[in-house]
Amino acid sequence: MVTFVQQFLNGLTIGSFYAFIALGYSLVYAIMKLINFAHGDLFALGSYVAYSFLVWASAALTAALGLWGALAVAMVVAGVSVAIAGLLMERVAYRPIYPAGRLPAVVSALGVSIFIENFIMLVWGPRYQAYRSEFVPVGYFQIGELRISILQVVILISAVILLGFLYWLIEKTTFGAAVRATAQDRATAALMGIDFRKVIRFVFTVGPALGAIAGVMVGLYYRQISFSMGWIYGLKAFVATILGGIGNIPGAMVGGILLGLLEAMFAGYVSAAWKDVIVFAVLMLILIFRPTGLLGEKVAEKV
């Protein structure tokens, strides 16, 4: 039972990382119908930016704000700078190409992904970088045999808060309604006076920023970051996006958590080596029987 709860918590933590990244995919897809392959690499970039920032400023910041304060500042720094990178990317690599169709945009996205990955390698070197022990809060709660680290708790709580805030923003505010309207029908939304560019800017700010925050969390949680980690996280988060139904905001969150739980349970109870095979097989099965994802709405094509 203790093992099960432990695995469940592990799954929730992995799942919230996926959920953060998946949201970026989903938002961009909802608005632009574009799979932003570079999104995973933006996540890695966020992790590195925060790493450098902490190396540079953590001593002074920790003295002034305490460790948690320093980490919060690092997250904001990473979020803002990666959001700028995201906007830049949209301006340079997507906006001029997007009108030519979706497939050229996909190649362009792959190109940006390769670029960012190698950019990270060139700037920070091919070696794994590690979040030093002094950045990372330690400590844990002990409940019977169960051991939960403080970091895990903080990650889960901030995930709930951030995702909740985003949910509120998209589902309950006027601006969120505009985003949803654009996702549904861009032309009609434009007729209703919704500024498409503003929505795009929103999507390319929030998505990368969330990805960057996930990057910092991953760095803190696992300590070690690498230039190539964007691929695997990107891929998994993309799977989560599809699981939840692409373009569906709450779906991305549910998909991420679900994927994390699935992975933890399979790794814990079946086989770590076959874990990913099983995860991908489950994904295929779900799509065969629910071709638009778990929460995806069945869209009948207009004839």
Binding site: Q6, Q7, N10, Y128, Y222, Q224, S226, S228, G268, A272
Partner: protein, 396 residues
């Protein structure tokens, strides 16, 4: 094309004439992963090889001719390896040091074999590499089974361990060591002396290994052998520590691709202290034993700062010595004659890691291993049963 090549040759000759070199240099090819996931190992190996080449040249070269490095990147992929090998062959190189990674080594060594180029690999430990009956392929490193044997027949009895956990990461090297370990443990298992309580693979490149570690903890092993690479090893130790595992109770032993300094840098001292690795002799630990090692470490530190602790880069350096000694011995720059000499099994000299001699298959004879431990300060020490054994808490 031929004319162009001749022109190139003329230009090269002219340049060297201007440099007033007495003799045409002997080309030594270097093939290694300078980009890609193993770029660090490639970088270290190249630096080490460069040091040895410089040392030899300072003494007047080989047969009075200087050595000259021709460097090719194989980016750590099989296809990259083939392209790099083909480039070196085309460049007219007759002796090559390379490469890191068994599955990259395999196809490239075929190309060298066909071209009659002698190649000595430094970081390829798959047993079957030398089982192919190649004439021109040798390695200065050990094989998966030699390390596995060290663990099974020395380390396990050393701690009197009964319950053994083996974990690998499904890569060529790691799975090889794990399987060979199982093979060497078999007599003890059959005799009922030891028991395998955990055997599974993790997926490299992931971040969260707590699920696997939870399963490991529940298996309650005395000793845990992880065969794999240091990034994952560091995470495993860190997360294991956070889960409350104690390396004095569960003796954590990594295989030789888990250098302690790298592991400490990633995981922090507190997580790694007490963990061990089975390792080929590192230059820092053998520099008082062999003069060549001392000289190498000093030259390396003078040029690049701190010495690396990768055995593979050291083996790469020794590959250069092997080539140099053998050429001196046969008295001509001829890969065939050198290969014949190496196949004969005689000791051709003493390098950085000790005597250099090879079996008829091309394997190194007598690769020593050692058990290293990370102390409380995060430094690497030779394991000493007198000191470290006391921490075990296993012996009655």
């Amino acid at each position: 094309m031929r004319g162009w090549k001749a022109l190139c040759g003329v230009v090269t000759l002219a340049v060297f004439g201007l440099l007033a070199m007495a003799e045409e240099p002997i080309l030594i090819g270097f093939q290694g992963p300078l980009t890609g996931p193993w770029a660090v190992e490639g970088d270290w190996a190249l630096k080490s090889v460069q040091i040895v080449v410089d040392l030899i040249n300072q003494r007047g070269g080989v047969l009075g001719r200087p050595l000259k490095l021709v460097v090719e990147d194989d980016s750590g992929t099989p296809r990259g390896g083939v392209m790099a090998a083909q480039r070196l062959v085309t460049a007219g190189v007759k002796f090559v040091v390379g490469t890191y990674g068994s599955s990259i080594c395999m196809p490239s060594s075929d190309i060298y074999e066909e071209a009659g180029v002698l190649v000595i690999s430094y970081g390829c430990t798959a047993v079957n590499l030398t089982a192919r009956g190649l004439k021109y392929y040798f390695r200065t490193s050990g094989r998966d089974d030699s390390q596995a044997r060290f663990f099974a027949e020395y380390v396990v009895p050393l701690f009197g361990a009964k319950r053994i956990a083996i974990m690998h990461d499904n890569t060529t090297y790691a799975k090889g060591v794990a399987e060979e370990t199982l093979k060497y443990l078999k007599p003890a298992i059959d005799a009922g002396d030891v028991e395998i309580v955990y055997y599974d693979a993790i997926v490299p490149g992931e971040r969260d290994y707590t699920p696997a570690l939870t399963a490991l903890r529940d298996a309650d092993p005395d000793i845990w052998y992880y065969t794999g690479y240091y990034p994952e090893w560091a995470l495993l130790l860190r997360q294991g520590k956070d889960m409350g595992l104690d390396w004095k109770v569960v003796r954590a032993v990594g295989s030789n691709a888990c250098p302690i300094s790298e592991t400490v840098r990633i995981a922090g001292v507190d997580a790694v202290a007490g963990a061990m690795i089975t390792q080929e002799p590192l230059p820092a630990f053998i520099k008082d034993k062999y003069p060549k090692a001392k000289e190498f470490v000093e030259a390396y530190e003078a040029k690049y700062g701190e010495i690396h602790d990768s055995p593979w880069a050291t083996y790469a350096a020794d590959a250069v010595y092997t080539i140099a000694f053998a050429i001196e011995k046969v008295g001509k720059v001829d890969p065939k004659a050198v290969a014949d000499l190496l196949h004969s099994g005689q000791v051709i000299g003493e390098g950085i890691t000790g005597e250099l001699a090879f079996t008829p298959e091309g394997d190194r004879i007598g690769v020593p291993y050692s058990l290293l431990i990370c102390n409380e300060k995060g430094e690497t020490e030779l394991f000493n049963p007198e000191i470290h054994g006391k921490l075990v808490g296993l012996e009655e």
